[in-house]
């Protein structure tokens, strides 16, 4: 099949899904709490902590400013420390997490901020603790929007995995670059792009449907 085997394509899809799912899982575990902290510690939040907020906000901005391809190379020592290697799909997960966690934090922050001041007022009037306010008021109300947020993050991750090819992460994106773009093989480029389009469509479709269900529209 024009210089790429079916096995290679399936292998690449597997690598993409592996990198995306693992880094999404870890990124969510880190990003969601950070996003909530951004909401509650801000000046008009329910537990204002000015210095903490300024620091966290600043760090997230700095990490988000670095282009992924630079980040990939810049944090090699950290990658070696955590993954024990600097090459391959598993090694690529470390920079992917560093890239996606602050992005998720920012998206979660936006989603939770959408919950109206009336709901927070209600929580206060019922004497809810900070934890209860997050658990019973903010999170359930933001859930529909959070699902869309996670969909956006997932699709962003798929884009980023293409660059993980530079450290041997593999995946569909790197297949497109090495076998298609660098060998002037238009067929492979088109094929891989179609595969990516299908994956993105499926993820966005699931996200939209789930969000709609959660919002009870």
């Amino acid at each position: 099949m024009n210089s790429v085997s079916t096995d290679l394509i399936i292998q690449s899809i597997y690598e993409t899904l592996y990198m995306v799912s693992v880094s999404l899982l870890i990124g969510t575990l880190i990003g969601v709490p950070l996003g909530i902290l951004l909401v509650i510690t801000r000046a008009n939040g329910i537990k204002p902590k000015r210095i903490f907020f300024t620091l966290l906000n600043g760090v997230i901005n700095i990490v988000r400013s670095v282009p992924f391809i630079i980040l990939l190379v810049a944090i090699t020592p950290l990658t070696r420390l955590i993954a024990g290697q600097t090459y391959g799909s598993t090694a690529a997960i470390v920079p992917l997490v560093v890239y996606i966690a602050p992005f998720i934090a920012r998206l979660v922050e936006n989603s939770v901020l959408e919950v109206g001041p009336g709901i927070i007022e209600l929580a206060k009037s019922l004497g809810a603790s900070t934890f209860q306010t997050i658990r019973y008021f903010l999170m359930p109300e933001a859930l529909g929007s959070l699902v869309l947020t996670m969909t956006t993050a997932t699709i962003g991750l798929i884009g980023a995995t293409a660059m993980a090819g530079t450290i041997g992460g593999g995946g569909i994106g790197s297949l497109a670059i090495t076998y298609g773009y660098e060998r002037f093989n238009t067929f492979v480029i088109i094929l891989t792009v179609i595969i990516l389009i299908i994956i993105v469509q499926i993820i966005q479709g699931i996200g939209n449907r789930l969000a709609k269900k959660l919002r009870h529209e």
């Binding site: 109206g116 009336g118 709901i119 007022e121 209600l122 206060k124 009037s125 019922l126 004497g127 809810a128 209860q132 019973y136 008021f137 359930p140 109300e141 859930l143 529909g144 959660l214 919002r215 009870h216 529209e217």
Partner: protein, 340 residues
Amino acid sequence: MIEFENVIKEFHHKGKKMTALQNVSLKIEKGDIYGVIGYSGAGKSTLLRMVNALEVPTAGRVLVNGKELGALKTLELSQVKKNIGMIFQHFNLLESKTVFENVALPLVLNKVDKATIKQKVKELLEFVGLADKENSYPRQLSGGQKQRVGIARALVTNPQILLCDEATSALDPKTTVSILELLKRINKELKITILIVTHEMEVIRKICNKVAVMEKGHVIEAGDVIDVFGHPKQMTTIEFVKTVIHDEIPPSVLEELKREKRNKRIYQLKFFGKNTTKPLLSTLSKEFAVDLNIVFANVTELQGTTLGIFTVAFYGEDLELERLYQYIVENEIAVKEVMA
């Protein structure tokens, strides 16, 4: 039940000092439906929010059941709060939860067991007339139904006090009436003291027994609704009363009166309660050498009693008209001369 003693509240916004409440003192007795009315920015919502400590006074004291809120520890304060329910202008329902879950929420926060929650929620939904909606989501409800859910939620912890923050301001007139009737029932049947903040005089007229009128952070007039409605003193109060009780001669009648050349005086008479049924006008026409003509009349029902306003043109000699005026005053009927 609720007492405000010389309460002052200042806000600081971008370095500017703003005084929301200036030395407010009010006393709400057990069993009252106490209405606080004022234009937006008068400070009435700030006042309401002090009762459940959503706002803390800059100076002065707020007492609930004899306990000063400012002196309570966190735990005691949360106990007092659980004794106070609150409903809101925009209902503040969780869109992601069913009606049942919304009403159950205060009990879930208090870690009440599931069986009790189920029983209590069903009981309250029955009470507010939404027993068939427990599995609906707020988006599927009308404004009035949403407020009923809000009310059920506020009552599920068996509070002694219900705070209403512009609870009918987002509703149409017909729905407003049904919600007000529900509030009245809550007051009567469940013996709950209600403090209600509004800018609609209709709310005060329909259900309140006491009223305080607020302007620029001050309480400018307060007392029994019938007194404040009958004898409004401050300009703002007069404006509010006018929105529900009309006492002005219609312009066309006024024109007619002006054109008439006969010697006359026009008196506005106010009757309260028992006075309303006395045959004053027929007595006047028999006892005095005058002709009379009613140019305006209005009877309003307030708290089970009536307030009647009659504007009457009397024709006759000056001396006789003066004697008639004295007679009305002696009969303890509020009277004032109106210019034509």
